[in-house]
Amino acid sequence: MDLSFSEEQQLLRDSAERFVDQNCGTEYLRGLRDTEDGFSRDHWKTMAELGWLALPFAEDNGGLDGTPVDTLVLMEAFGRGLVVEPYLPTVILGGGVLQAAGSAAQIESMVEPIIEGNLLLAVGYAEPQARFDLFDVATTAAKDGDGYVLNGHKAVVIHGATADKIIISARTSGNRRDKDGISLFIVDSDASGLDKRPYPTVDGSRAAEIMLDNVKVGADALIGTEGQGLAPLEKAVDHAIAALCAEAVGAMKVLLDTTVEYTKTREQFGQPISRFQVLRHRMADMMMEYEQAKSMALVAALKVDSDDAEERRKAISGAKVQIGKSGKFVGQQAVQLHGGMGMTDELSVGHYFKRLTMIDVLFGNVDHHLKQFSAAA
């Protein structure tokens, strides 16, 4: 057993942290608020140049053959800088679906543009009634000649408005909550009948409601086998959860460091507030939460590709539960220990707190993953 990072991973960490420290963080996030895209296309170009968009793709497909631990290293740095570029939807989720089930033609036509930074993807996996169940799909795809016609409502599609193509889960057969009968389609975002309703999310990112009203797609839009779309979608989402856990760890570290620093300089009652035992213990607890989250994020990255379904489920859902709990404690206490300052838009603390609050919701909250873990055992 060896849990140390390789030299390449250290280099990736160094370069990612350097980029993030120089270009990202609260000021950058604030600067994106009034923009239409909600992220920086310049950053996206740089990420392509640095090879980050190629990281998890197979070498045969033009990628770098990176492991989930490589992704973890990158995502931790993204968490450290509140990076909102659509890495998760485009590379991890969208790219993940393509790698899991895409045809040779689909991979050939899309992976290279993704890697070069010329193609943005979003994945519509959630629906208003579905809560966190990926298999709860009311959106339909009916046979229409050689192709299909899609109808339905996809909820809170992350970066859904800026994506060039959107991967949609839709039902080709069965009942709303059947696990079989779900198919994945790649749809052009400007397709006739596809309506996007974009909005900012609380953490400063963007999402959209995607309405499908008789959207026609060809047979070549189907990803993988008809009716068997759930497995590749789940696989991509599990990779996204592992990545998100790493991002959360990066964000928690900033909050812990900032809080420790602040309590050493903030004076009340004639002394730094770090001298008060109640606050010291609180920060020791924050550190414990952070470290346990870090351990679980690593487990998620190491086991996300496990062939043992139970092992994979426990690693992913276990990590998501730990991240949710730790993120809540670290986020809330960071705000609390910063006092009124922690409540301001000006300081970074609140932004990290909001990001962690969103991360708990994404792909299922603590409650959801407790059930997944327990059902897997």
Binding site: Y199, Q268, L279, G340, G342, T344, D345, T357, V361, N365
Partner: protein, 398 residues
């Protein structure tokens, strides 16, 4: 001892219920019940309706405009208002500075200020915290230097809620820094439109503007605007803080929050059934409901004059901690129930001026905004760490 209301009390309850039903503007109650944002003009409108009825200040002594109700009647009144979706009136005026003025103010000050507070014409804000003086409030540095019949004020206040909408401020200033920090503070009242006052907005994490930093540069305030004695301001300030914490349990608001959560859960699907039926949810909502009962009956005990056995006098401190913790538990549960629809930023329509309806379902409106702003509850009014310190000091006699 009897927990049930007497026939007279039940009749009173009926009277209040009917009157509120007929007089509370529907557009206001819809906002309150639906998680919308109540504006100053909404609040003022409701304030004036209550004033005209003579019910604006039940907590005040009758001679100053109170209602002369028993503690139970006041409780019933507050319950009925909350139940109907009435917004909480401006605490700075009615709960804070009003009682300070009628308790410690001069006859001239009473005559000058109490009518405007009661009829809602004058809007107040509170100048307490400073950038360097939060938990350690008594270390405040805003200076008032004597100049004939006036003070010249220099310094700054922070977290001043509603300073941008206020007509007057009650403000703690330092008039002496030679002795103990608590002994050189004075309590002043002055209008916010005096030369030398600048209000700078602070945007909070939910994207809202409700708090401010206020800067004073050579602001001239007559000494006649001082409450009570010079350098005795800490006594009045503490009196006011206890009043601030007394209202903080806000049992009615929490009941409202609880029922909004239950309504949303009852219409949210989960695992093919309803979220409201899921055991994990039921356990959490039940826990919260029991905590709310304990809070309510503790409040009733304290209202009826009982004290803490071990730390008498710190009832308000205990209530502040218990109430704010429960508030945050409820808001966490609310966003949990909202699921993915906790994620959209619901202030964006204000920012973009969009007329489109929000993507957030009605039942979840405002849940995330409440959750974010609600993190301040364990910080303001004396952080919960400070409240525990106060209780522990009395408990341990140190």
């Amino acid at each position: 001892m009897d927990l049930s209301f007497s026939p007279e009390e039940l009749a009173f309850q009926q009277e209040v219920r009917e009157w509120v039903g007929a007089n509370l503007p529907v557009d206001i109650s819809e906002k309150v019940l639906g998680g919308g944002k109540v504006t100053k003009s909404d609040l003022k409108r409701w304030h004036k309706i209550l004033f005209e009825k003579g019910w604006v200040a039940p907590a005040w002594p009758e001679e100053y405009g109170g209602t002369g109700w028993s503690a139970v009647q006041k409780y019933i009144f507050a319950e009925e208002l909350t139940r109907a979706g009435a917004p909480e009136l401006l605490g700075f005026s009615l709960k804070m500075v009003g009682p300070v003025i009628f308790t410690y103010g001069s006859e001239e000050q009473k005559a000058q200020h109490l009518p405007g507070i009661l009829n809602g014409d004058v809007w107040w804000c509170q100048g307490y915290s400073e950038p360097g003086s939060g938990s350690d409030l008594a270390s405040l540095k805003t200076k008032a230097v004597s100049d004939g019949d006036d003070y010249i004020i220099n310094g700054t206040k922070i977290w001043t809620t509603g300073a941008h909408e206020a007509d007057w401020i009650f403000c703690l200033v330092r008039t002496d820094d030679s002795g103990k920090k608590q002994e050189g503070i004075s309590f002043l009242l002055f209008p916010m439109d005096l030369p030398g006052i600048e209000v700078s907005p602070i945007i909070t994490i939910g994207g809202e503007h409700s708090v401010n930093q206020v800067f004073f540069t050579d602001v001239r305030v007559p000494k006649a605007n001082r409450i009570g004695e010079e350098n005795m301001g800490w006594t009045y300030a503490k009196f006011l803080l206890v009043n601030e914490r007394n209202g903080i349990a806000q049992v009615g608001g929490k009941k409202r929050q609880l029922s909004r959560i239950k309504n949303l859960a009852a219409t949210s699907e989960m695992a093919g059934g309803l979220l409201a039926e899921a055991p994990s949810y039921r356990q959490k909502i039940t826990d919260a409901e029991i905590a709310l009962m304990a809070l309510e009956y503790s409040e009733l005990r304290f209202l009826s004059g009982q004290k803490l056995d071990h730390a008498p006098g710190t009832e308000a401190n205990m209530m502040k901690v218990a109430a704010t913790q429960l508030q945050q538990t409820l808001s966490e549960l609310f966003i949990e129930v909202a699921g993915y629809y906790g994620m959209p930023y619901d202030g964006f329509q204000d920012l973009t001026g969009s007329n489109e309806p929000s993507v957030i379902p009605d039942g979840a409106q405002g849940a995330m905004a409440d959750h974010l702003y609600g993190r301040a509850a364990t910080i303001y009014g004396g952080s919960n760490e400070i409240q525990r310190d106060v209780m522990a000091k009395v408990l341990l006699s140190i």
